[in-house]
């Protein structure tokens, strides 16, 4: 199981890990009320505000993908309020990016509003924040989308 090609730190740790036989087992079970929630509001200034809450992981993405597909089809200038999103993985990024590309293709745009620091870190590391604007307040969102 342990090959000579692996770095030393990895080999030592694997030997230790396997020698412990994984003694501690932790109960496996679903957490309740883990599903993402969302709302979509058409604002008077012509923007659509999408508010997301929860974890944008695989489970969340399965729920939210059709929502983003609908947004891309029906809306034009979109603010996605990320302030209650606690987790963001690549499938969530994918949903946002695919939707943003579809909006851009028809002359629309999308901005991300007020992500939590851990989520903003994912946006930065993935490079998404360099192609989709991330703003701290609605005023900044309006400046980008309405001018």
């Amino acid at each position: 199981m342990i090959s000579a090609g692996m770095p030393a730190w990895c080999q030592q740790q694997l030997v230790f890990l396997r020698s412990h036989q994984f003694v501690q087992q932790v109960a496996i079970g679903r957490m309740e009320e883990r599903e993402m929630e969302w709302s979509i509001v058409d604002l008077e200034n012509g923007l659509a505000k999408v508010t997301l809450s929860g974890r944008m992981d695989l489970q969340g993405s399965m729920l939210i993908d059709p929502v983003f597909a609908g947004i891309a089809a029906e809306k034009s200038r979109v603010v996605v309020d990320m302030s209650d999103v606690t987790f963001l993985a690549s499938l969530g990024l994918r949903a946002i990016l695919v939707s943003c590309k579809a909006l851009a293709a028809k002359g629309g745009n999308l901005v991300l509003l007020n992500p939590q620091p851990v989520v903003e870190n994912v946006l930065n590391i993935s490079g998404i924040s360099s192609i989709i604007p991330v703003v701290a307040d609605m005023g900044a969102a309006e400046t980008i989308l309405l001018t």
């Binding site: 003694v23 974890r55 993985a89 990024l93 994918r94 990016l97 943003c100």
Partner: protein, 158 residues
């Protein structure tokens, strides 16, 4: 060290298995008092690597297709995690299609949304959030090992 521990669990290589694994690692992180930033990184890497197994490791999960309930039937994924001093080691093993994350190409950087492609984001996140990454394939198993460093705080000196 009294603070050392190790845990493991096995999950089916299905969407439902990934969801269960995400719950398990989230709860384990809380129970073990893993600091928020580190916990986020570990959860993210588990999510990305398991999603990868289900999507590409033997299933029929096509780009832009609806996600099937069981994408990679027959594939199983084991997760081991241990703390030793200020290091956390995460080992993820699966019997799916060979995939060496350390050899996967880097994602090109784009500046315009029209050019950006959604693929490869997960690999980039795993590389960034872990402080060490190794891959081995032996006996028909992919074995991906990640290292994380426990953040040093004033409490660690007491």
């Amino acid at each position: 060290m009294g603070s050392d521990w190790s845990c493991s669990a096995v999950f089916p290589g299905t969407v439902s298995g990934v969801v269960d694994a995400a719950c398990w690692i989230e709860r384990l992180s809380a129970d073990r008092g893993i600091p928020e930033g580190l916990s986020f990184g570990i959860q993210l890497c588990v999510e990305e690597l398991l999603t990868n197994v289900v999507r590409h490791g033997g299933g029929a999960w096509l780009e832009n297709a609806e996600m099937p309930a069981a994408a990679a039937p027959g594939v199983s994924i084991s997760i081991g995690i241990m703390r030793s001093d200020d290091v956390i080691i995460l080992v993820i093993e699966d019997d799916g299609t060979p995939f060496d994350i350390t050899a996967a190409p880097a994602k090109p950087v784009h500046r315009r949304v029209e050019e950006a492609q959604p693929g490869g984001l997960g690999i980039q996140l795993v590389r960034s959030f872990s402080s060490g990454l190794a891959y081995d394939r032996t006996g028909g198993l992919n074995s991906t090992t990640l290292r994380f460093l426990w953040p040093r705080t004033a409490f660690a000196l007491l």
